[in-house]
Amino acid sequence: MANRYDDKKFGEVVRDYVRGAISRRQFIVRGAQLGLSAAVLAKLTRPSRAAANLVDSDPASPYESPITPERVAFLKTKPYKGTTINVMVLKATVGDGLKYHVPHWEQATGGKVNVAEVPIETLHTQIFSDLSSGLGKYDTYMTGAWFYGDFFVPKDPYIVPVEKFIADPKHSYWDPDQWLPAMRKLYSWNEKVYGVLFDGDAQALYYRKDEFAKKENQDKFKAKYNYDLPAPPKTTKEYHDVADFFTGWDWNGDGQKDWGISLHAKVNEQGFFHFLTLSAPFVVSPDNKYYFFNPDTMKPLINSEGHVRALEDYVKFLANGPKEEISWTLGQGWNLFLDGHSATEPTWGDLPTLAQDPKTSKVQGKMGAAPLPGTTEAFNPITGQWKKYDLNQVGNTNGGSWHCVISRLSKKQEATYDFLAFMANKKNALFNCTTGWTGVQPGMKFEYIPPMGTGKVTDWTGANPPWNEDDVVEYLKAYYAVLAAPIQQEYLRIPGAAEYWHDLDINVSAVLAGQIKPKAGLDATAAAWEKVTDRYGRDKQKALYKASFA
């Protein structure tokens, strides 16, 4: 290979990178094009983290571990005395999780935190009203990952990157390199980190492994379906058979008929995530990564043959749960499984964490977990072709992955970051993901046990309430498999994502209620999406959509 290295050109590339004219990725790509090692360039340009001389803990901040000596010295000055931070949070478990840390941070730093809780129906509105009006009443907002595109609509983005704060050792220590890559992406934009670690959502399949292990159930299943009861189901066909098998009879011995699946499909309450997750393997595959739009034309793909078949398949599950579940909130859906009346539930990691509380759960120690079933045939909406696979399983990061971002309008950005970093510190992050009522799920390697990560089972079994050890192993293995799957469903993060998903939500809900047929529902969704795209500007949306895959 000819040596393309050119001193002058490389100097220009370095200058552009240092000035911020090009991103780190562009720097690495251009450097590689000039003949330099991409791996070396990547290592050299990795954002610096706080000092490596960490200590395990210090009385200056009993809720931080590990902690830097600089942080210890900083806290002794009560640096934020007289400073008040205003935080807008989601009125839900994750909001409760944030509030838990407030008094600890206030005590350590002298600062004060005002928390305003907002329901999910109005969170997007309230965040962007505060920003677009210029009011800037709040320093930081708890955002869903799908709001990100809207933060970057104006020329001057509404939120600020946090990398400069991360590098400052006087703030609470946390390491973004610990993120699983799929999760880090949701906290970043154009490779810059804007979010501070909090929640890491993904949907997986949770099932009653005790009922699946019972010999009489296995024998009955085999007699009916002519194959062994799959624990867990690996394909959608197997999942239908399993859900069907456990529906309509009293398998838990409490005198009531029980169900094969529990769903929380209420419109305007994140019900559409069920469809996103269950439909992914019908469309996303090793041969196609696009789920929402054609990247060259920005035409919606949502009404492709694959999506329609997926929705028809999803509708069949309604026979395996209570009719009312099409209007159930998250809590109502989870209750059916936690009360022991549903054999399976495809949902977020809140379910296994809530399962550990004997006050509200009858299924502690009985829970199996697995990636959601895949398909043996997937449709490529770009080429218009179906293709068979041995097993096409798709990972996801579906959900809010709720976390805080810092407002550009805030006059207390450093103090605000300090509070957010405090919650991201390993000790607090572990508390969050092992404690059910916080609604937080693990997205960092230190939160997973070997061989997936560097954590310990005792981090979980020592929590309050304590996790059942079998549940820990099942949950973390499955959750990691979902987040680290090589084939991932894309996460829509362009401006207007909330509106695109709302259009999908209302039409899927109408299909579930029997008001319209699946094809008509998805055609209506596609037509609504075209209008949204035109309003935001097709070319702009196309560029941002392509960039979101970078």
Partner: protein, 293 residues
């Protein structure tokens, strides 16, 4: 001095000065916002960029050809047409009985107004616990009696549940206004009517209803206007679902304008709705004038 005051009172400036605060208020909080809405209705708006261009009547075309818009109108009309008459009948009957001095009237009069002090959104969320199949305080007793209503999983169930909650909250509004109207009927007329009538119900129908009608129509008009704007109870109960089958106009306009910042389409929806409601009110007043003459 007296002459000067008299001149002022009968002259031009004093009366205009007194009217000025009200005029400023109306201009600032009604006409100026209305002009703003009209401007947005002819524009395209993107959150973060503001008004991005003039689009003529495109927003109006989008609204008038939107199935979702007409469905929200239908849901709202059904809501009003069912809820308001029920509230009228129940409110009038309750007022009549209290006016007669039926046993327990004093206690009833004291407590019937309490629903008016509750927040509609709280009532809506409470409604979920009443109507859910999973232990709902209304759903479960009804199902024990063999009455299974899919309150939360169908359009008609959701609207029926929302209307029941609305009736619980707003009947007292009609009651209070009608009671005042009935109290204004001279006692001698009652005494004379009782002599001729076979029952109190005949007195009510032939005397109380006609004489209290002017006050009652005001109550109905006010309640209808409020009901046409209904949002919190149905939205908190069903979030507009399943699909958009229980989504009222206000909910749809809220989502379009406030949640998704489509000020252009949302403003056009508001203007169209204003025209429709104004037509309804005009017809109402026309019928009322005919009734009175």
């Amino acid at each position: 001095m007296a002459a000067r005051v008299e001149r002022l009172e009968h002259g031009g400036y004093f009366k205009y000065a007194l009217l000025l605060p009200a005029v400023i208020w109306v201009l600032a909080f009604t006409f100026l916002p209305l002009l703003s809405v009209i401007r947005y209705s002819f524009s395209s708006y993107v959150m973060g960029e503001g008004v991005t261009g003039f689009v003529g009547f495109q927003n109006y075309v989008n609204v008038l050809t939107s199935v979702e818009f007409w469905q929200s109108i239908l849901v709202t009309v059904v809501y009003v047409v069912v809820a308001v008459p029920i509230e009228l009948v129940l409110g009038f009957l309750a007022a009549w009985l209290v006016n007669l001095g039926a046993p327990g009237s004093k206690t009833f009069r004291a407590i019937i107004g309490s629903p008016l002090f509750t927040l509609e959104v709280a009532i809506g969320y409470l409604g979920v616990t009443f109507f859910t199949d999973q232990g709902g305080l209304i759903a479960v007793p009804l199902s024990v009696l063999g009455i299974h209503v899919p309150w939360m999983s169908t359009a008609y169930g959701g609207i029926a549940g929302a209307i029941l909650l609305d009736v619980w909250r707003w009947t007292s509004f009609i009651f209070i206004i009608v009671l005042a109207g009935l109290a204004g009927i001279p006692g001698e007329l009652y005494d004379a009517a009782v002599l001729d009538a076979k029952s109190h119900w005949q007195v009510m129908w032939h005397l109380a209803v006609p004489l209290a009608w002017p006050v009652t129509t005001i109550a109905v008009l006010l309640r209808t206007i409020e009901c046409l704007k209904t949002f919190a109870i149905p939205f908190a109960l069903t979030s507009g679902g399943p699909g958009t089958s229980t989504q009222t106009f206000s909910a749809m306009d809220y989502l379009t304008t406030i949640q998704f910042f489509d000020f252009g389409k949302g403003s056009a929806m508001g203007i169209v709705y204003l025209i429709l409601v104004s037509a309804i009110i005009a017809i109402f007043f026309q019928q009322m004038r005919k009734q009175l003459t």
